[in-house]
């Protein structure tokens, strides 16, 4: 038999050629090509250009620029900003998840919080920038309120909203909802039997949390914390919309390198910066995968 029976009544793999022509592997080919072209190739190009100079010859010059104080300060600011907002976001988000224990998963409270969290976590960094200009901008709602009613000038030492410190509040604003989305399933996976067992053995609520709840949840919590870090570290839109010139964090430095051709007197610096970002992301995601494996132990 050389042609595949369209109704497929022939036993599978009866003839090698038919098996090859009708092999299900072909079904994967279009998707594989697409992913190679629009994910694999751009990533390779982004990382590769860091090793090439203006004439296309191999150079380590751009990668060496990663040690430049300007670039180092960009990475430091990015990492500190991501770490601070990840910790604050994780703690506040976990508190909200805790407060939701015992509510009906399909009730209006949970559906509402789920929907709002989904929007605030994913929908548009640009709009977040507008929201914070309206809130703590120079003529913002809170700025004016504090100034006129309480005589407090939050910008007494200069306007910080458009610098790196100004990114802390907007970033927390998308970190907390993201934490709620990714941490809630872990809390829901806590087994009621564990609490019952603890209570039967004379444990109090505090015993349950200290001896069972926290240890079981710790890997999930740390894993979520890492995802929040990665989220803040790769975020670009909010910062870009707040400042059209600033280069305080790495994504903004990449913008500078892409739009001005020569930053620090080097071409292709964007590639080197991209390489640096990918290295940080790879470390974070590898740790995340490790923690996930530990967390999965309790989620069967």
């Amino acid at each position: 038999m050389t042609t595949a029976d369209p109704r497929g009544t022939a036993p599978r793999g009866s003839a090698r050629t038919a098996g090859f022509i009708a092999s299900p592997v072909w079904g994967v080919v279009p998707f594989a090509l697409y992913v190679l072209l629009f994910l694999g190739l751009p990533t390779a190009l982004a990382l590769g250009t860091g090793f090439v100079d203006g004439e296309g010859a191999f150079t380590l010059d751009n990668v060496a620029a990663l040690a430049d104080p300007f670039v180092v300060s960009g990475f430091t600011t990015s990492i500190v900003l991501s770490a601070v907002t990840a910790v604050v976001g994780a703690v506040l988000g976990a508190l909200v998840c805790y407060a939701l224990i015992g509510t009906r998963p399909e009730g209006p409270l949970r559906s509402g919080i789920d929907a709002v969290s989904g929007v605030l976590a994913q929908f548009g960094g640009v709009m977040l920038a507008f929201a914070f200009v309206a809130t703590i901008g120079i003529q913002g709602f809170i700025t004016v309120l504090l100034r006129d009613r309480l005589g407090i000038d939050i910008f007494a030492d200069g306007v910080w909203l458009y610098e790196a410190p100004g990114l802390v509040l907007p970033y927390i604003y998308f970190q907390v909802p993201l934490m709620i989305i990714i941490f809630m399933p872990a809390l829901e996976a806590l087994k009621p039997q564990w609490a019952e067992a603890s209570a039967t053995l004379g444990g109090t609520t505090a015993t349950f949390w200290w001896r069972i709840g926290f240890p079981v949840l710790a890997p999930s919590f740390l894993g979520s914390l890492l995802l929040l870090f990665a989220n803040a570290f790769s975020s670009y839109a909010t910062a870009a919309a707040l400042t059209s010139q600033g280069q305080s964090i790495v994504p903004l430095q990449i913008r500078g390198a892409l739009t001005s051709e020569t930053l620090l007197g080097r071409e292709n610096l964007a590639g080197a910066l991209a390489l640096g970002m990918i290295i940080v992301m790879a470390v974070v995601m590898a740790l995340y995968a490790l923690l996930q494996r530990r967390a999965a132990r309790w989620q069967r």
Partner: protein, 274 residues
Amino acid sequence: MSRMPAAPRAGIPAPRPLARWTILGLIGAVFAVPIIAMVEFTLRRGLEGGYDVSRWITVLTFDLGPEYRVLGQAIVNSLVLAAVTVALMLVLLVPTMIVVHLKLPRLRRVLEFVCLLPISIPAIVLVVGLAPVYGVIARAAGSGVWTLAFAYGVLVLPFAYRAVQSNLDAIDVATLTEAARSLGAGWPTVIARVLLPNLRTGLLAGAFISVAVVLGEFTIASLLNRQNLQTALVIVQKDDPFIAVIVTLLSLLVAVLLLLVIGRLGHVTTRRTS
């Protein structure tokens, strides 16, 4: 089944109502401030002070000057991009997921890894490599805005994959397929009349979340010099911040409604499978 949706969780110690409402109230209030600030901002009257709704009327009656035509065009661009991205998802991702699920279980881990990979590659990194790729595309297919959808298809992969995969896991694809085949259905019939109807909720959820991601995308469009809703908002904001904030509030509202619909769909799936 082991899942008990409405059963009281006798075990896990729930917070006392006072603690629950204090936490939710405080965090909720803090998160409401920027939204309230935006509303207050759009209602401000010029220098004389006081409030009115004239700007909202201007926007809601489409009574904007020609300088805002960029915004209208950008909204159309974003909607086109959302449609093409969802089409890419349906044509490329979904058939692959079904084939892998049914015939190539060994590739499942690989597919999952590839689909979740975009989470670890920041869009700002991707854009560095996309710039030369789009240079070639512009020469071959013109610089139409729809071509951006190829890049957006990659951005939505993790979200679309998760939505469809959870649906695939919830239905018994193998049994459904074998039942249909033993009744004489060919593969096209199996896919169109058995699998797709059963995957409806996952596909819809994946499509909705993809639309939300595409409508909120800024990084790639901005650095490849294409116009979409977000890049246009940045331009409009420089001219008239009030209009930009009103459009922001409206799109937030639309997005919340969209996600409430997704939430509904999710509950329909769990009820069906339990």
